[in-house]
């Protein structure tokens, strides 16, 4: 009983120090090489000479990018740089009401197209090894897939991490996002964007036990400073959703969740068909075994609709957990070096 009280006191003292507010995420040195609207392309300063083609990381539009550079030693970006892979990252920024009318084609076609163009120019100026690869995480991967379907020659290889492809296998999210029950048009018509706080609350409701579980984990690691630091950084990131631009959200939910169009077909962006079968470059699909947002079948469905060879890897962990674990960067580096 004394130990329980001791742990309670340790947790209380930890929380008193405002660990969530003071967590410093996204600390790997970088320079913005291109801006468009709220989004930016971040070029990370190399820590060793480049030995592989540069990679463009497309992050999801629903959170900040820092989860892939959460803390030193817990950063996918840092590990890629250490392995000699030049890293560029698409940071979508914080869309505002003025972005509500932007269609999905603005992000998945025009903006990403410009990103690849500017990265290619910058990489040439740095004399990096020839070629360009891409990695998409979560919804960022879905946007990357749509972009590559429209521009199949854009990259040499593409990796998709916890990326929903078969949305009808997305577990509870697929159940909730049913055309008959989910008031998609009411949200976009009334609010313009899908607000960050609603998104945060829906993710919490997705697995209500997660709310208590995180406190229990903190309590169990009451005397583990490394865990506490990671816990605080993840809490900060988790609470930092961004607004999803309305019209893009409407098309995304309608085409992906309602129609499952990446698998079923019939989706056109800018009058061009979105067909993953058109993309012949090698792809990697990484799924997290305990992912309740994008379960492995939803991610690995890539193998059945992609035009080129697809390697599938399932890593132990949850949707966010894999991003801060050590297995994901090792998997990506091995694949990029193959």
């Amino acid at each position: 009983m004394l130990e329980v009280l001791h742990r309670n006191a340790a947790v209380a003292s930890f929380l008193k120090s405002d660990p969530i507010g003071s967590a410093r995420t996204g600390a790997t040195p970088n320079t913005v090489i291109h801006r468009q609207g709220k989004s930016a392309v971040r070029w990370f300063h190399p820590s060793v000479p480049a030995t592989a083609a540069p990679v463009v990381i497309v992050m999801p539009l629903i959170n900040t990018w820092t989860v892939w550079d959460l803390l030193p030693g817990r950063s996918v970006v840092e590990r890629l740089l250490e392995a000699g892979v030049p890293v560029y990252l698409v940071d979508w920024g914080r869309p505002g009401k003025e972005d509500a009318a932007r269609p999905l084609s603005d992000y998945a076609d025009v903006l990403l197209g410009r990103v690849f163009d500017r990265v290619r120019r910058h990489a040439a100026s740095q004399a990096y090894p020839q070629g360009l690869d891409a990695i998409g995480y979560c919804v960022g991967g879905t946007f990357l897939a749509v972009h590559l379907a429209l521009h199949p020659e854009q990259v040499g290889r593409a990796a998709f991490v916890c990326t929903p492809i078969d949305f009808h296998q997305s577990g509870r999210l697929a159940t909730w996002a049913s055309p008959s029950d989910f008031p998609l048009d009411a949200i976009v018509d009334n609010l313009g964007n899908y607000p960050a706080d609603m998104m945060r609350s829906s993710f919490r409701w997705l697995r209500p036990s997660g709310v208590t579980r995180k406190w229990v984990s903190l309590w169990e690691h009451a005397e583990d400073p490394a865990f506490q630091q990671l816990w605080a950084a993840l809490e900060q990131w988790n609470d930092d959703n961004v607004d999803f631009p309305g019209e893009t959200y409407r098309e995304y939910v309608r085409r992906c969740y309602f129609d499952n169009a990446l698998v079923a077909g019939g989706w056109q962006v800018g009058n061009r068909p979105v067909s993953l079968a058109n993309v012949k470059v090698p792809a990697l699909s990484v799924a997290a075994a305990q992912d309740h947002i994008v379960p492995p079948p939803a991610a690995h469905a890539l193998a059945s609709c992609w035009g080129g060879p697809v390697e599938t890897v399932t890593i132990n962990g949850g949707h966010v957990g894999v991003s801060v674990g050590r297995k994901l960067p090792a998997t990506l580096i091995a694949w990029l070096r193959a």
Partner: protein
């Protein structure tokens, strides 16, 4: 840290509770009744937010202050202008690429022309050498009859 019985018991109790709650939540959160009420609840929530935002805008208008809608409109115009600027930048970069490619092609053509000229000069020089050689040969052939004794005639 090794766990005491108390802490172990607390963890086990929590895990049992979590398991039962998860099962319960799974039933609730995927039931048709929940989906229906979630849909109507979200609709009411967004309509309420919209009504609040409209009310705030109306109040600001009455005080002759810019409303959020005004600011959004201005920001949207700026954003569209930026899009146009970026499209122009795209076209400029494409033109620059074409210019660089054309400069490269021009340079290559000049190099090729220079090399062709050198080759032509070499060929001309070779032809000239051959002509000189032929001329010399011809000259010596023309001079030969005077220099050489005539055949068939014996000097008396």
């Amino acid at each position: 840290m090794a766990r005491s019985d108390g802490s172990q018991m607390a963890t086990e109790m929590y895990e049992a509770w979590e398991k039962s709650m998860t099962t319960w939540w799974d039933q609730v959160l995927e039931s048709p009744a929940f989906l229906k009420s979630m849909g109507s609840g979200v609709t009411q929530q967004v309509q309420g937010r919209r009504a609040y935002e409209d009310a705030v805008d109306t109040t600001l208008e009455k005080f002759h202050l810019p409303t959020r809608a005004d600011l959004t409109r201005v920001a949207r115009i700026t954003s569209l202008l930026e899009d146009r600027l970026l499209s122009l930048e795209d076209r400029l970069l494409a033109l620059e690429d074409r210019l660089v490619a054309s400069e490269k092609a021009t340079l290559q053509a000049r190099i090729d022309a220079g090399e062709a000229r050198l080759a032509a000069e070499d060929r001309l020089a070779a032809i000239e050498d051959r002509l000189i050689a032929i001329a010399e040969k011809l000259g010596s052939t023309l001079e030969e009859p005077t220099a050489r004794p005539r055949r068939g005639r014996k000097e008396g």
